[in-house]
């Protein structure tokens, strides 16, 4: 029965949306609390996912039922160590974002709640989908509620921002659709049957030239979503125009779908292309890190600053992913969560001040520390987390990514240069964040209107509390979060390497043996379990403190996979 948890996670918000759609418009409280109640149920349910034995790699909670049988399209969902935290991030941050929104959204509450519920459902679906067709459906479905959230409840340029967001994403995803269709038809050509199951499609070994094209199509869709430089231009618009809750979800969860897409689909399916284009993408990611940081520095609007900082931070995530070793990849996954928490919190904080002053310009503030001490403390903590100060979550993620990049085999011979440049990004992050903090909180109160500002209230505090908790929890006990993904990441990398070797052997269209497929369910037969246990035992000596061992682990991967 427990395998239906994922389906329930998708279905509960949807049921909630339908329920609220039928409810009478007058009762505002129903929509505010009802939507939160559905999300809370989802959150509790998703926490139960942690109870699985995460020492073994592979997918669990797999449900696989045929949907469109003519094309082998199935409703197939499952969860592994990579998607686990992202699902939890979604179930946690959606209610937080919605709760934070209730402070400022006063009109069309019914539709707002419905849009959020639908959005949550689609996002979870995207994270757990293992069938490419299903993935595409959820991926597209996500667009509509977000489009409406930005376009209906947004700021004054909301229509432009919403359209830009929608069209950018749609162009990318349509090309991805063509690529999906192409791989599907290649699988059909090889086997005579259709399938869009990741497990099946990842067995198709394609020649180099088609891999490059297909990977590029996937990469474009995901890079737009991430967003990577130079496809990032929709992001500042969408973020600044979106209502607070929309910005939070957009930054905290939706951007992760791009990086997740690289990890889950683009790289395992086209390892050869990923191998050859990897350094280029990493270089672009670094350009993004530095470019985003500089842009953030230049901003006069705090919300835009946070938006550009996302471009920079997600550059780190991309770098970690393409470093292709345990430290880099798990750092990237953790950093996805971290960025969700810290940027989400930042957007909420920006929303708080905007609600009071109706401006977000840095020059309109100053000396707020004296007026709103608690707010200042929270803002500084979040900034530290965003910068990556030791003790906060940001540090762990960025350190692991940098360590992974340093030791990366895939990024040779540029890995050291990459680390150097990326480290500049960390410094720049400190500069622009501290610059903002300084301008907003230090010095005398320069504006009359700022003198009477109320400090953070209970509701706002409640919205921020879980995020603050997580900032320190991840910062101080990273192993709680790294452990569940450890085995999955290692298995992921091993598969990736062996598939790469296998494909490199012969540049022709063929079907790989099933053991090279991605997206296989967790082993349930005894032999495989024993094997997994042995693997787990073999990993033990690397020490409990995974972070410290990151460098070692990185070099270990290098030697193990040296070809």
């Amino acid at each position: 029965m427990s395998s239906w948890i994922l389906t329930a996670l998708i279905a509960i918000p949807l049921v909630g949306a339908l329920f609220l759609a039928g409810a009478p418009r007058k009762n505002e409280g129903l929509f505010r609390w009802g939507s939160l109640a559905f999300m809370a149920v989802n959150l509790v349910l998703s926490i139960s996912l942690l109870s699985s034995s995460w020492e073994t790699p592979g997918l669990r909670y797999v449900v696989d039922i045929p949907w469109i049988e003519q094309f082998g399209i199935a409703y197939k969902v499952g969860l592994d160590g990579i998607s686990l935290w992202l699902v939890l991030l979604t179930t946690l941050l959606t209610p937080v974002a919605l709760f934070a929104s209730w402070l400022s959204v006063n009109q069309r509450i019914k539709e707002f709640a419905i849009a959020f519920l639908a959005l949550e459902s689609a996002m979870i679906g995207t994270f757990v989908a293992l069938d490419l067709f299903l993935f595409y459906v959820f991926w597209e479905l996500m667009l509509v509620p977000m489009y409406l959230i930005v376009g209906v409840w947004g700021g004054k340029d909301k229509i432009y921002a919403a359209l830009k967001f929608f069209l950018y994403t749609m162009v990318g995803s349509l090309l991805m659709l063509v690529a999906i269709l192409y791989v599907g038809s290649q699988y059909h050509a090889l086997t005579g049957i259709y399938s869009f199951d990741l497990q099946d499609l990842s067995r198709v070994a394609l020649p180099y030239s088609s891999q490059i094209w297909l990977f590029s199509a996937f990469a474009l869709a995901f890079a737009i979503k991430v967003p990577m430089f130079p496809f990032h231009t929709w992001l500042p618009d969408a973020h600044t125009q979106a209502p607070t809750g929309g910005s939070v979800i957009l930054a905290a969860v939706m951007l992760k779908l791009g990086t997740y897409g690289f990890l889950r689909f683009a790289m395992p399916m086209f390892p050869l292309a990923a191998h050859y284009l990897g350094p280029t993408i990493a270089a672009i990611a670094i350009i993004g890190i530095i470019y985003g940081a500089f842009c953030a520095w230049m901003q006069k609007d705090v919300k835009k600053l946070v938006a550009y900082s996302s471009v920079s931070h997600l550059g780190f995530v991309m770098l970690g992913i393409f470093s292709l070793n345990a430290s880099g990849v798990s750092g990237a996954i953790l950093q996805m969560v971290n960025h969700g928490i810290s940027t989400g919190a930042l957007f909420i904080l920006v929303g708080v001040i905007y609600d009071r002053r109706h401006t977000r310009l840095l020059s309109d503030f100053g000396g707020l520390a004296a007026v709103m001490p608690l707010y200042a403390v929270l803002f500084v903590i979040t900034s530290m987390s965003s910068i990556g100060l030791p003790g906060t979550n940001g540090f762990i993620g960025e350190f692991m990514i940098l360590a992974g990049t340093f030791a990366s085999n895939a990024l040779q011979p540029w890995s050291r240069i990459f680390v150097l440049c990326a480290a500049t990004g960390v410094i720049l992050a400190a500069i622009y964040m501290l610059h903002a903090v300084l301008k907003m909180f230090w010095g005398p109160v320069t504006h009359e209107a700022n003198k009477a500002l109320k400090d953070i209230n209970l509701k706002e505090g409640l919205a921020l509390a879980p995020l603050m908790l997580l900032v320190f929890w991840i910062g101080l006990f990273p192993n709680h979060f790294l452990k569940p993904m450890e085995s999955t990441v290692e298995q992921y990398l091993a598969r990736y390497q062996s598939k790469l070797v296998e494909i490199n052997r012969d540049d022709s269209l063929r079907l790989l043996p099933p053991e090279l497929a991605s997206g296989a369910a967790a082993p349930i037969d005894e032999e495989a379990e024993q094997q997994a246990e042995q693997q787990a035992a073999a990993r033990k000596p690397s020490g409990d403190h995974y972070v410290v061992g990151a460098l070692e682990a990185g070099s270990h991967t290098v030697s193990a996979t040296a070809r």
């Binding site: 003519q70 409406l148 376009g151 919403a162 359209l163 659709l177 063509v178 269709l181 599907g184």
Partner: protein, 502 residues
């Protein structure tokens, strides 16, 4: 005789419906209100049911020799009968709501509509040039007069006149093509033409010329660029219920007969060669239609005109399926060919459902004296009347090709079948998806004006009409949009079956 009536029960039922409407209209008192639209609706439902029943029964008995050369009763015809009758049923309800609201209800409307639909159904059954011609003209004459039905409106009559003139011109082209094909082969039955062409006893040049002219004539009927000039004007001018009927029924029937002619008659290797026969011609039409349709739709201010251009673009997408068919047929891959054809059929059905939903919502949004025609009229509608907004949004998303609606499945299936042909068509598919991304812009504009723009206080607000007929029509259309969108499996099966039997 009884056997024939049963075999062609969809057509017969539509005719009976027309007769019933005519009688009811003739023998009723002046002031007495007749619900002719309901009669029409049930006639269409009966026809649709008849087609489904015949499909289920799966009768393959030979037809009477007098009928056999002209009309087939094969699965494809039955499937399209069901689609046309279903669309007819929904448009009958729309007409019942629209005409009454705007006070132009007259009995002739339903008679002409039923007979035009009859023509369309004859067209999808046709296996002979003669019945193709007669069916096409029956349908067209009916639609011409429906387009001019709102005769107090200069726009309506003007659009109808343009449509009539260009339509007759295209019919003449088609006819000339048929004459040349007849001259080349000495045959008029589609299958016999194919035999003559394949055996090589035909005159090649005549056949090629004939093929080109027939393609041009049919391209006109489906509204493909460069034969599309009539469609924006007539879409805009005609009463909205007529536009809906025209957009769906004419397009579906014309595409079906095109499929039949191309697949059955023009299948000879030299004519259907992917690089020198009609396929490159169709490919050119497809590319031009997608390009011109989408780009022109971007700049429209009138929603009906926008939908006209969007229907041109949709014709372009459907023709991608045609090209895919030609390529796979030339490659000898029968399975892929059937798939491409069935993708076209499914696309037609999904296009029908989503168009009807959009047109229905457009009708819904306007009431007497305040018809909704421009984006301006729709401003803020989604906020004031959420259900209309939702209905139109779903329709627009479906036309855009967004999951989980019928439009997405249609596009998916079509593009999948084109990709399956091999690498040769990938550029075309990429072009098509990029074109549909352009298309997204103007469909989103609908959502933008409905939800995101605020209406000025002094501007006249659109007041929705209230009609049970209309709600029923919207409900039906929405049902099919989601039904095909979420569980398309058995529809695909049916479409494949129809294509295979062709």
């Amino acid at each position: 005789m009884l056997d024939l009536i049963i075999r062609f029960s969809p057509l017969v039922l539509v005719l009976v419906g027309a007769a019933a409407v005519m009688l009811a209209d003739a023998f009723s008192d002046k002031g007495q209100s007749n619900d002719l639209s309901t009669v029409t609706f049930w006639a269409f439902v009966g026809a649709s049911g008849g087609a489904i029943g015949l499909w289920v029964q799966g009768d393959t008995m030979a037809l009477h020799p007098l009928v056999a050369p002209f009309l087939a009763a094969d699965p494809m015809a039955l499937l399209l009968d069901a689609v046309i009758a279903g669309a007819g049923a929904i448009t009958a309800l729309l007409a019942g709501a629209y005409l009454r609201e705007h006070q132009m209800e007259r009995g002739e409307y339903y008679v002409v509509m039923l007979l035009a639909a009859f023509g369309a159904m004859v067209l999808v059954h046709s296996t002979h040039l003669l019945s193709v011609f007669v069916g096409l003209e029956t349908m067209s004459l009916g639609v011409y007069s429906l387009a001019a039905f709102r005769r107090t409106s200069p726009r309506s009559v003007e659009g109808a006149m343009k449509y009539f003139l260009l339509g007759s011109f295209a019919a003449a082209l088609l006819l000339f093509g048929m004459a040349l094909l007849y001259g080349a082969t000495g045959e008029m039955e589609l299958a016999a033409i194919a035999t003559a062409l394949v055996e090589g006893s035909a005159h090649n040049t005549l056949a090629l010329l004939g093929t080109a002219l027939i393609t041009a004539g049919l391209a006109f009927k489906v509204g493909a660029v460069p034969f599309h000039m009539w469609s924006p004007d007539v879409y805009e001018g005609a009463a909205t219920s007529v536009t809906a009927f025209m957009a769906v029924v004419v397009k579906v029937a014309a595409f079906t007969v095109w499929v039949r002619i191309a697949v059955v008659a023009l299948s000879a290797a030299n004519l259907a060669d992917p690089f020198s026969g009609w396929p490159p011609l169709v490919m050119g039409l497809a590319v031009a239609s997608m390009l011109v349709g989408n780009l022109s739709a971007l700049v429209q201010t009138n929603v009906k005109r926008m939908l006209a251009y969007s229907s041109i673009a949709h014709a372009g997408y459907i023709m991608v399926g045609f090209v895919a068919y030609a390529h796979s047929a030339a490659g000898g891959d029968e399975g892929a060919g059937d798939q491409a054809l069935s993708a076209m059929l499914l696309y037609l059905a999904s296009y029908a459902a989503s168009s009807l939903l959009v047109f229905g919502s457009l009708i819904w949004a306007g009431s007497k004296g305040k018809e909704v025609v421009s984006y301006e009229d729709l401003k803020g509608l989604g906020r004031r009347h959420p259900w209309i907004g939702v209905a139109m949004m779903v329709g627009a998303l479906s036309l855009m090709g967004f999951p989980p609606t019928a439009g997405f499945i249609g596009k998916y299936y079509l593009f999948q079948s084109a990709v399956n042909v091999g690498d040769g068509l990938i550029p075309l598919v990429i072009f098509a998806v990029l074109a549909s991304a352009v298309g997204a812009f103007y469909y989103l504009k609908l959502i933008v004006v409905m939800y995101m723009e605020d209406q000025e206080q002094e501007a006249a607000q659109a007041v929705p009409m209230r009609s049970v007929h209309l709600w029923a029509a919207i409900g039906l259309a929405a049902y099919f949009v989601f039904r095909i969108g979420i569980a398309p499996g058995n529809y695909m099966e049916i479409a494949i079956g129809a294509a295979r039997a062709l």
